[in-house]
Symmetry: none
Subunit: 182 residues, 4 copies
């Protein structure tokens, strides 16, 4: 009976959030500004998202969806390098918002949880699978450590800003991981 939620509002909200981020960083993405920019009432935002952080999460986790394609050739090290290269490429496109999101998550446990559930954990699992194919004999713990090293290197560069995670890092990481787990 009730009127269904407007799909137009859905996209308008997330678009507005992304546009505002582009213009003024995370600080410009206030719920009020998003609602105004989207031509939507504040309540329409809060009907969809619990709070500001949920909006932020939705806006950029949506963007980051579906970017995890697992190559499955005969050469596991090539597969690994390719996977990381693609990942870093996709990341690079959204480096700024993801960096901000990770930072924001440090202040908001709930957002941190969401980030892990929607983003981190899946990627860790996928990389772990790839590594196990690469080195079937490696211990669970070593695989976990290598996963943290690979993603850690990427985030570390993003956060510290001394270098960019790109194809070169992907190649090197694949090589070093192979050697480490051999």
């Amino acid at each position: 009976m009730p009127r269904p939620r407007s799909a137009a509002a859905d996209t308008a909200i997330l678009d507005a959030a992304r546009r505002l981020f582009g213009e003024g960083g995370l600080g410009a993405v206030t719920v009020e500004a998003v609602a105004r920019r989207a031509g939507v009432g504040k309540q329409t935002v809060y009907r969809r998202y619990a709070d500001r952080n949920a909006v932020l999460a939705a806006a950029w986790l949506e963007v980051a969806e579906g970017e995890v394609v697992v190559p499955e050739s005969a050469d596991p090290e090539r597969d690994l390098a390719l996977f990381l290269k693609r990942l870093f490429g996709a990341f690079g496109a959204n480096a700024e918002p993801l960096r901000s999101l990770m930072a924001q998550a440090q202040f908001e446990p709930e957002l941190r949880q969401t980030l892990r559930a929607a983003f981190i954990d899946r990627r860790r699992a996928t990389l772990a699978d790839l590594l196990r194919r690469l080195a079937p004999g490696a211990s669970q713990a070593d695989v976990g450590a290598v996963v943290d090293m690979a993603f850690g290197a990427m985030w570390y560069r993003l956060l510290v800003g001394h270098d960019t995670p790109g194809p070169a890092l992907a190649r090197r990481l694949a090589k070093l991981a192979s050697a480490a787990l051999a």
Copy 2:
């Protein structure tokens, strides 16, 4: 000629900030609360720090000053493990504020710079030295990547929260780094 700034106020402000962080996280560290807790006028805070973020920066950067002791035994892999173990231990003691600091730095380019200068770069250089002693033949680029992998793993765990960087990670990292650069 004018009255000099009160050193008592200096320490009272930073102490108050740290205590409030301990009690309620970053959100509890408002300028107003800091001033009240420190028994100081708000203006006295704003005379020292441009804004809330500057207060946060000062409070945690002061805490995070400290020695990086480099072990130099005959066994480079042991040295590496020991170095990382100590580092992770020292970090762990201030994990929460440092996590917040790194997050805050993502919103404050100036703080990010300070953080690198006072923290990150020194530790990266030290680790790079250790790695070069461990694997004299390794390329500069590989060493850099391994440094990012090691510190990256630590920060990544801190930020994502799925695991703690502790002695076990230190050992494993040392082992994997050895293997990777061999």
Copy 3:
């Protein structure tokens, strides 16, 4: 379409302002205190009034609305005395806030205008009528001067505080006005 402004908040704000004035004079009527006392957010005050002064204005102008009853007996001097007596009586009840209002108006041209329109001019017109009935031959200018003398005496006593405008002054003013315009 939006939710209409709360009438309860309207009255709560002005009541709070008046009560605070009663307790601590004009100095006690801060926007923050008003909001707190009224059980209202600061923004709710600022949504209605441009600033603190506008709140003060509204609070006392509302109080000061009231009838100017013109007695019309066969004895114009008695009528005059009665009119002034009533006026002074009504004034006396709100002497403090009105005194403050007149003072505040000296800093706020807009309020000064409002005060004249809602207050001063009507009373001046009424008194001028009464005086013309009392002394049909008096010049317009003399009548105007006497009006200023009568109200002036009242305000002067209020502002300077050396004496109170009461029935005695009303009688004397009526007598002197009669003599002056004869």
Copy 4:
């Protein structure tokens, strides 16, 4: 032994206050601004004046000093008219600050007292003398009422702003006072 107070500072302070009033009204006359403009420390102001209001009083009551010259010819009504004319003229020159001062005095009992002592009372006494010479038989109370009417009319016009107290008012006031007390 003690260094004497600087006369230069004395005048610099009051000049600064008057200049600031000219530029931005009473609101611009803060103690800090006065001190800065006068090239003087805040304490030097507070050494001379109890508080901001005392500075204001000093700045404009000094200006208004010595303006009361009592004419003593054979024609008391002419004397009265002349006295009022001069008074209004002197007033007119400082109408704005005196208006502000009277307004401010409504919020600051101490200032109100000062204003009376240094200004109002002397003028009232002088006018009462003149009136007694004009009408030796008039009752004390009637004289007092006429004094309030005359000064009241002046202040009333100043405060309400519907007309200016000038020579015309002075003449009319003299005439009406004569008639009233006859």
